[in-house]
């Protein structure tokens, strides 16, 4: 089981080569950092002051996450998960995959593991992007000092981990939908509707029940005067519970399919 799972992981990873999902991860991770770099280079007059500020890294962190947490991370997760699962439908390869000497659990969980790994890859690259967003203006613009404040690595790691947990329900539900429905629009459409529902339910006291709200809640919680309804329970715990439920239901639907490919 362990060896065949490892082999299946290698196989699934090879399938992502040159895929649109891989490009979404790369472009998504560096999109906001590049915008920040460009803006800073254009409006370089105030850089010397901000780079000397003790809150430099916290401000940069918040700026970088703004569009990511609210828009790019949920939409990127919806698209990437759906695209990876849909690779088999698009290429008519489910039947080939199901005639390989792999158990259904290996097929299901190795594909899911690759999606989760791509999510981790996104977070790592995004953190690198944030660091580059600080470094490049310092290297390019004359007179800008290297930030005097130390990098709050514990904040970066903790918050990245929380955003990772908060994104898991999106991955879980999108994976379930993408494996179950051949039509790509079902999973993407449902994902977009749930994301819109998440935006609309932020002020609702039971908004935490919508599983796509968690990255947004996690970002907005740190902002003063955020006007969101404080979740009644920990959204991170809710995220993990939703993920486990979605994966469990997804696996049950996957193994119960009458036609496999």
């Amino acid at each position: 089981m362990t060896r065949s799972f490892f082999n299946s992981l290698q196989s699934e990873w090879l399938k992502t080569k040159r895929s649109l999902a891989t490009w979404i991860v790369l472009v998504g991770a560096f999109f906001t950092p590049v915008i920040i770099i460009v803006v800073r280079i254009i409006y370089h007059d105030t850089l010397a002051t901000s780079y000397a500020s003790p809150t430099f890294w916290a401000t940069l962190w918040r700026n970088a996450w703004e569009s990511i947490a609210i828009f790019l991370l949920p939409m990127g997760s919806i698209l990437t998960t759906s695209l990876i699962a849909q690779l088999e439908y698009k290429n008519n390869t489910w039947k080939q995959l199901h005639t390989l000497p792999l158990s259904l659990a290996t097929i299901f969980f190795s594909k899911l593991a690759i999606i989760v790994f791509m999510l981790v890859q996104f977070f790592v690259l995004f953190n690198v992007g944030i660091y580059l967003a600080a470094l490049v203006p310092y290297l390019v613009v004359a007179g800008v000092p290297y930030p005097t404040a130390p990098i709050p690595s514990d904040l970066f790691v903790r918050e990245t981990l929380l955003f990772f947990l908060d994104t898991l329900p999106i991955v879980g539900l999108q994976y379930l939908l993408s494996l179950h429905y051949k039509n790509f629009l079902v999973s993407i459409g449902t994902g977009v509707i749930l994301w819109i529902a998440a935006l609309g339910s932020l002020k609702w006291k039971f908004g935490f029940a919508v599983p796509y709200t968690y990255p947004i809640f996690n970002y907005l919680k740190s902002l003063p005067d955020n006007k969101i309804a404080a979740p009644l329970v920990s959204v991170h715990v809710m995220a993990v519970i939703y993920f486990v439920v979605f994966v469990g239901v997804g696996f049950w639907l996957f193994v119960s399919k009458r036609e496999k490919g």
Partner: protein, 300 residues
Amino acid sequence: MLTLETQNLTHRFTPHDIAVNNVNLRVEHGSIYGFLGPNGAGKTTTLRLVLGLLRKQEGSIRVFGDLFEQSRLEVLRNVGSLIESPSLYGHLTARENLVVLQKVYRCAPGRVDEVLALVGLPHTGRKRVSQFSLGMKQRLAIAVALLPQPALLILDEPTNGLDPNGIIEIRELLKHLNQEWNTTILISSHLLAEIERLVTHVGIINKGTIMFQGTLDALRSKQQQSLQVVLDTSNPDLSQQLLHQQNIAATQHDGKLILPSLPKEHLAAINQQLVHHDIKVFEIGIVKNDLESIFIDLVK
């Protein structure tokens, strides 16, 4: 010894739509079994059941002597397959497609180049499979099926999309695999002529039911039995009457008489008798039913 055996395999897509009805396939070890039938006869459904792509409803499937559902992984490790259209990742190259599967089958990396050479695709380089012609995709799909050096190869209409040269090449390749490696091959087709020169055994299915199963020789002897004699005379009614007096079952068709195959001497005697009764004999000929017409008769 049987490599593949099904017993009373039955499958319904809806309660009133029996796609496969009590099919008892018997594919002997080392044989090339041609699975024939018109479109929609139940060939692909049977093959999908055999490979576990459809959940079995009734009957049993044994591969290499083991029940499929009990030894699925062990069985699939030794089976190569191509079902319907090629299953390939369009964004990858031919080599990458095979490496994806080589990892799972755990075969030697050199096997990838071997099978690419076998199917005549050794130099496709960095060209992505989405840019391949249908024939190239079909060849690559066959390479995929050959990758694990399977003891049983299941091919569903593998020559679809191939030009005549490609069909001959694949036929020779399959013969070679069968002779050199003793690979058992189950190949489906809707054209008997296409696989007649390849197979050792034949199964003919129509409307979900097996109409014939046996060796190609058994099918040929059926062909011999179905030979008929056509007799064109100036008076078919009187001729028919004379033949009936000799207990020869003759029927009229388009003014000609059709009678079962008879020895040459017997035909000569009939000719003499007809002439003796002032009946002019214009033609005595043999109607040769080829294997294709036997096949068509069986599936009618």
